[in-house]
């Protein structure tokens, strides 16, 4: 008798989200299968995307082997972003770290002007994150949204404390929202429920918070896995959104990654691969070699 492998089919479909416009755009999500379950019924129309991270100021604590690929451009975020494009990134992830009151407390206007310059200089989509300070982000992100009016960028982090003010601005200026909650599926759902009262669910990306290998990655893993399962299997309307894994920064903070290049690449690579298996749809990485490493590992040749 011929053996027929069992194939599951699921009822949930992750919403497909477009970041950017026209030629400068990409799609994430849209899958109706669990990560890498290509043997089940359904498909993932948009394979995982890789964004490289750019800071709005010269990095203070990056090891030499991480700066090296960007050596000539590290003091100029616009050139740095173009370099990421040359290196094959699917998108640029601009982190406005200098706006953090504990870093430089640079102004919302400066940040907005820079964001616009970067968005216009590159031919790939742009993702913009504030510093993560919820109060300052509530000033900075609306200005950024306005400066980049109608570009359909992905902007975040939208958090419990500032979702109303930031969410409204993103809506008014035609952007997608990246909704961040601190490693907790119940809080994550709550934020989406509240945001969805005025913001379209079709324009939300979930940032469940990504921890690095050895520094709590298993929590991020189980959480992403659960978000994806509850979306795909039980069709929970508030978790059927694509997931962003903002992991590069977490990995390159570790002493292991700082020690030497090979270890750093593996640290970022293994974390990336694990979170892909858990269900991430787009990864934020820092080292271009990690992008090639993970692509090589996941693409069927």
């Amino acid at each position: 008798m011929e053996y027929k492998a069992p194939a599951e089919s699921y009822t949930g479909v992750v919403r497909e989200i477009t970041i950017g416009k026209g030629k400068k755009s990409l799609k994430i999500g849209g899958e109706n299968i669990l990560p890498f379950h290509f043997f089940d019924q359904g498909s993932n129309p948009n394979p995982v995307k890789f964004a490289l991270e750019v800071l709005d100021m010269e990095p203070q604590d990056w090891p030499e082997h991480l700066i090296q690929p960007f050596r000539d451009v590290i003091d100029d975020p616009v050139k740095w972003a173009k370099k990421c494009e040359e290196l094959g990134a699917d998108a640029v992830f601009l982190r406005l770290v200098s706006t953090d009151p504990a870093v430089k407390d640079s102004s919302a206007d400066e940040a907005a002007a820079l964001a616009k310059k970067v968005a216009e200089a590159i031919n790939i989509p742009l993702i913009i994150y504030g510093s993560g300070d919820d109060k300052k982000d509530a000033e900075v992100l609306p200005k950024v949204a306005e400066a980049c009016d109608d570009m359909n960028l992905l902007i975040g982090p939208v958090q419990k404390e500032n979702y109303e003010i930031v969410g409204r601005a993103l809506l008014d200026h035609g952007h997608n929202a990246s909704a961040l909650s601190p490693l907790d599926i119940n809080l994550l759902k709550e934020l989406n429920v509240k945001l969805c009262k005025f913001f379209p669910a079709e324009k939300i990306v979930i940032d469940p918070e990504s921890a690095a290998l050895g520094y709590g990655m298993e929590y991020s893993f189980s959480l992403m896995e659960r978000v994806k399962q509850i979306g795909i299997i039980t069709k929970d309307n508030m978790t059927m959104m694509p997931i962003i894994a903002d992991l590069g920064g977490e990995c390159w903070k570790t002493k292991q990654a700082k020690e030497n290049k090979e270890q750093g690449l593996l640290w970022e690579g293994i974390t990336a691969l694990s979170l892909l298996l858990a269900g991430a749809d787009i990864l934020i990485l820092r080292h271009p070699d990690t992008v090639s490493l993970v692509k090589e590992t996941t693409e069927v040749k």
Partner: protein, 295 residues
């Protein structure tokens, strides 16, 4: 369902001050209010009662007995306070609680036998809290067998599966479902046994105004599965109305939700919709969030 009124609880600042200052009125008012609201037992939860356990417990029990003849549940982990409380009760008390922990087996269960009282036994063991239904059943069977050997019959034992907050990230809903299942099969594995739960713990950590709805709904669900009693808040009028069978339509609706029936929410009142949504969270059908009524 037998309701054990939870409001004399040392975590409440007013209660702890009243015990320390021997302010009888505060305690007696709480006891009377619960009795009037329809409670069957009054729980006296004094925590570890490190200071003057005998004297304090005696005072508390007689203070309450002056104003009500309801049965009392003596709720402390201090065996000295426990014995003083049991001794002072005029009617057959409930020892709340013992467990499968060695200390408890050695110090609490013999008291239940000595004073011939009812006893709450939780599923806890020296290994901690058994995580799933099978391990809960396994550990309670061990402890109940031990209690039987001491001469405590199943009929005097009130098993407590230990309810945990449904809002606990990721795990809470699994626990809520496990307790429902546990209560459902308990009678089959330990015939004649009774059961109780610390009901309000299911809503611990939830915004205050939403807690009663979770407590009420979970009570309906546990009651359907055969729960004998609950330590709960009798001052919640809607809760007591449900307990006394005054809201059969709501109960019916919660049962339908438990059965996975497809319920059309459009003709329902807001209150009915809230019960359905809450039941869906407690069955694990919908992922919990503090905004569960809003989605």
């Amino acid at each position: 369902m037998v309701i054990i009124g939870e409001n004399i609880h040392v975590i409440a600042q007013a209660v702890s001050t009243a015990i320390r200052e021997k302010d009888a009125k505060v305690i007696q008012d709480l006891a009377k209010a619960q009795a009037e609201a329809g409670a069957d037992y009054i729980d006296l939860n004094v925590g570890p009662m490190k200071k003057d356990p005998e004297e304090n417990m005696q005072w508390l029990v007689s203070t309450v007995q002056e104003v009500t003849d309801l049965l009392l549940s003596i709720d402390t982990m201090n065996p000295v306070a426990m014995e003083a409380g049991l001794k002072a009760c005029q009617k057959r008390p409930l020892l709340n609680s013992a467990s499968g922990k060695t200390d408890s087996k050695e110090q609490m269960l013999p008291l239940a036998q000595k004073y011939n009282c009812d006893v709450v036994i939780s599923v806890m063991t020296d290994k901690g809290m058994p995580p799933d239904v099978d391990s809960k059943i396994e550990s309670i069977m061990d402890t109940v067998a031990y209690a039987n050997e001491l001469g405590i019959p199943n009929e005097d034992i009130w098993v407590d599966p230990i309810i945990l907050p449904v809002s606990t990230a990721g795990e809470g809903q699994r626990f809520a479902v496990a307790c429902l299942e546990f209560i459902k099969i308990l009678e089959d594995v330990l015939p004649g046994i009774k059961s109780t739960v610390g009901l309000s713990n299911v809503s611990n950590g939830v915004p205050n105004e939403l807690r009663p709805l979770l407590n009420r709904t979970y009570m309906i669900m546990l009651d359907r599965n055969g729960l004998y009693s609950a330590i709960a808040d009798p001052l919640d009028k809607e809760f007591m109305d449900l307990v006394k069978g005054k809201m059969p339509e709501i109960v019916e609706l919660v049962y339908k939700t438990m059965d996975g029936e497809d319920i059309d929410l459009s003709p329902l009142s807001q209150k009915e919709v809230e019960y359905v949504k809450t039941a869906k969270v407690l069955t694990g059908e919908n992922l919990y969030s503090d905004a569960w009524l809003e989605s």
